[in-house]
């Protein structure tokens, strides 16, 4: 070693740095005082490009649980939320769930993992049988495919096929009115992007046979530059564009496409645009883009939903996301079932949740239902609106009819061999 002195100096420097860091960071677990707390585990993504997914998921659930605890909990037993960062790795998510159940004694899991992680969690739940609510994954097979079914697992999130049917019907109507025949798509090149796009276009064509898809672009997930995709779309000269891009990718895409004035030339349908983090990030939000519902204070425009928005903003200082309401919903189902059953026995809780209808700010008619047959959520706001540059960012919201969605979904399941 050439310079021993410097060595120790640096080591001390780094140690001090680590100590400061330790002080800065909040502990992940705020262990509840006393025994008898009901432990709820949440594997999610808290670092990297989509860390907002985890942060707003935790916040959504926390808002509901904290309120429940403040009002006395379950006969004095408080709910304790334990989070684990899976870093978007399915194997870490699976291991985290096993640890939460076997090591930390959680009988309830809120799985806030993106789709591949949610499939991994589902496998664990199948073998260890804790109560699980998938709160983020929209992948249709998770609940629709009987081969994946687990008796204690539910989904309190959107389901891809619901948005596709509602969006397809809306797109078909707009297309008829405006004469939009030539359609292009631009969606991320992975399972979610591909299935969402295929299903959306399938139903758009089903409702309006004049629609034809003239070109499809598939940029990679987290691609920094969309220029080649944008100029490709311009070459097609489509009347309308559908996009399943989301999050930061969607922000980049809009910023870059603005330079080419793409949205002046095409009617754009973007299912994931209407979420606050995207809407507030895009500086020059083009007027008149059409967006699917994610979460919005005015969808549905009820005092309950407005109150949720205000409470969330007051508590966390950030705007709620699509993931926030999905996790808040899961938390509400858990609490309602706990009140019913009186213990956190997973099998009894699952029985109480199956087919249950709860009052909810996010329901189109003020309620949400956990469908008994395939353990997935129905009754939430599905539909499209027109974006505006100012709050509340959304006008002329058209709510899709659940009657129509359920009818076509049943057909679709038959065709897939799921029912």
């Amino acid at each position: 070693m050439t310079n021993h002195k410097l060595n120790t100096g640096r080591r001390r420097f780094l140690k001090t740095g680590a100590a400061t860091a330790m002080a800065l960071s909040a502990p992940a677990i705020l262990r509840a005082e006393g025994t008898g707390a009901i432990r709820v585990g949440m594997p999610t993504i808290l670092s990297g490009v989509v860390s907002i997914l985890g942060e707003s998921s935790v916040a959504g659930a926390k808002l509901v649980f904290d309120e429940f605890n403040a009002s006395g909990g379950l006969d004095g037993r408080k709910i304790e939320l334990i989070t684990r960062d899976s870093r978007a790795k399915p194997e870490e998510a699976a291991k985290a769930v096993r640890d939460l159940v076997n090591g930390d004694g959680c009988n309830i899991i809120l799985d806030a993992e993106a789709s591949s992680g949610s499939f991994a969690v589902q496998e664990v739940i199948k073998s260890i049988g804790a109560l699980c609510l998938h709160t983020v994954s929209e992948a249709t097979p998770l609940s629709a495919d009987p081969a994946l079914h687990a008796p204690t697992a539910f989904r309190s999130a959107r389901q891809g096929i619901h948005d596709a049917i509602g969006g397809g019907a809306y797109a078909a109507a707009v297309a008829k009115e405006k004469g939009l025949k030539r359609w292009a798509t631009c969606s991320p090149d992975y399972a979610y992007g591909r299935t969402t796009t295929a299903e959306f276009m399938e139903y758009a064509k089903y409702f309006n046979s004049d629609i034809e898809v003239i070109g499809q672009a598939w940029p990679k997930l987290f691609q920094p530059d969309y220029t080649e995709v944008i100029t490709r779309i311009l070459q097609w000269r489509p009347d309308a564009l559908y996009s399943a891009l989301w999050g930061g990718d969607l922000v980049s895409f809009i910023d870059q496409a603005n330079l080419y004035a793409l949205f002046d030339q095409t009617e754009t349908f973007s299912v994931n645009l209407g979420d606050y983090p995207v809407l507030t990030a895009v500086e020059q939000l083009p007027n008149g883009m059409r967006s699917g519902s994610r979460y919005n204070k005015v969808v549905p425009n009820t005092p309950e939903n407005n109150a949720f928005y205000d409470a969330y903003v007051a508590k966390f200082g950030t705007l709620p996301t699509n993931w926030s309401w999905e996790n808040a919903t899961a938390a509400t189902f858990v609490i309602e079932a706990l009140k019913d059953v009186g213990t956190d026995d997973p099998v009894k809780l699952a029985e109480a949740i199956r087919g249950r209808t709860i009052a909810s700010p996010f329901g189109v008619d003020g309620t949400l239902t956990m469908r008994a047959e395939d353990h997935t959520l129905t009754g939430y706001a599905v539909g499209y609106g027109v974006t505006t540059a100012e709050e509340p960012f959304m006008k002329d919201f058209h709510t899709s009819s659940w009657e129509q969605i359920l009818e076509l979904e049943a057909d679709w399941k038959k065709r897939q061999g799921f029912a």
Partner: protein, 331 residues
């Protein structure tokens, strides 16, 4: 030779007995999970170290073999065409074939170029896993779990059986790798690492030896992938992502690449650290990154690198020359 072989076999057997008993002595399922997880990563790291520590070839692409083991095993079991032991053998053969193909192209290159080419192959492999949806399930991974029918009375759906099976396979693979590095072949590897020219003068077919080592290293790494696939009953594209290779390399460095048991110790330490960091903080990057920086700037050597090689020639040497450091003094 035979005496030490017997001794090593007995040590392996003793290790197996201890490992099998561990969860029953307290710690339960959490400990069992930890050991299985660390074993999977440990095999990846130890397999990788056959190349890094013993042959001096730094592969940035071993995650692809980890994944190919997991995926081929999972896909075969889902197709329900053969029992578990045969499926494992088939997965190893598939991985070996892929490795032979890729290795034949890569091992001709040296140093950083070898590293980059393996990295490029790995990224290509990862993009195939994502896009070949019919076979791999794309980014959703192998959907629907991996069925494991009972064989010879072993039911891998039972946690105790799964644990015993994984531990046995791991100890067996470790034993075989130890046999390999202590064999004349192992000495040839070290000769190539230390002085490739001398090896050529002595008539060693360097290409063939390097390629054989590449394939063996890939096959043993893929055993780790199979164990992980069994443990989580699935296979996912991120098994083949470069960060998986990165973590394996970190394990090798952390435990020490000059000792046969360095990488598996590194796997035990890093897996444990991961658990602790994830359990007690939401700032994974800050803490793990800080630990990595402390380690790489402070210790600069793996834990077992501090253990003096006890005169046994089978110990690999660090590829870093201390002489280089001397020429590059701090200002």
């Amino acid at each position: 030779m035979t005496r030490s072989t017997t001794r090593n076999a007995l040590i392996a057997l003793a290790a197996l007995v201890v490992l099998l008993a561990l969860p029953h002595l307290g710690g339960g399922e959490k400990l069992a999970d930890y050991i299985i997880f660390a074993a999977a990563w440990g095999l990846l790291a130890t397999g990788l170290n056959l190349l890094i520590g013993y042959t001096g070839l730094i592969s940035f692409g071993h995650a692809m073999f980890f994944a190919s083991g997991a995926y081929s095993f999972g896909a075969i079991m889902q197709a329900q065409i053969m029992p578990v032991p045969l499926a494992i053998v088939a997965a190893l053969i598939i991985t070996g074939a892929i490795a032979a193909l890729i290795g034949a192209i890569c091992v001709r290159l040296s140093e950083i170029y070898f590293a980059f080419l393996t990295l490029a192959f790995q990224m290509f492999f990862h993009s195939i896993l994502l896009s070949w949806v019919d076979v791999t399930g794309g980014d959703n991974g192998l959907l629907g779990g991996i069925p494991t029918p009972v064989f010879f009375g072993v039911d891998l759906n039972q946690p105790e059986h799964l644990y015993a099976f994984c531990v046995t396979v791991t100890v067996l693979a470790m034993y075989l790798m130890h046999r390999i590095v202590s064999s004349p072949f192992g000495f040839t590897l070290r000769m190539i690492r230390d002085n490739e020219r001398r090896a050529i003068f002595l008539g060693v077919n360097v290409f063939a030896v390097k390629l054989t080592c590449f394939v063996l290293s890939a096959v043993f790494s893929s055993v780790g992938g199979i164990i992980l696939a069994l443990f989580i009953s699935g296979a996912y594209p991120d098994f083949a992502f470069w960060t998986t290779s990165g973590e394996a390399i970190f394990m090798v460095m952390l435990g020490g690449l000059t000792n046969f048991f360095g990488p598996i110790l590194g796997a035990l330490i890093l897996t444990g650290l991961n658990d602790i960091v994830v359990t007690y903080t939401d700032h994974y990057g800050l803490f793990l990154g800080g630990i990595i920086l402390l380690f790489s700037l402070g210790l600069r050597k793996g834990v077992l690198d501090f253990v003096k090689p006890g005169g046994r020639k089978s110990t690999p040497a660090q590829p870093t020359a201390d002489a280089k450091e001397a020429t590059h003094a701090d200002a």
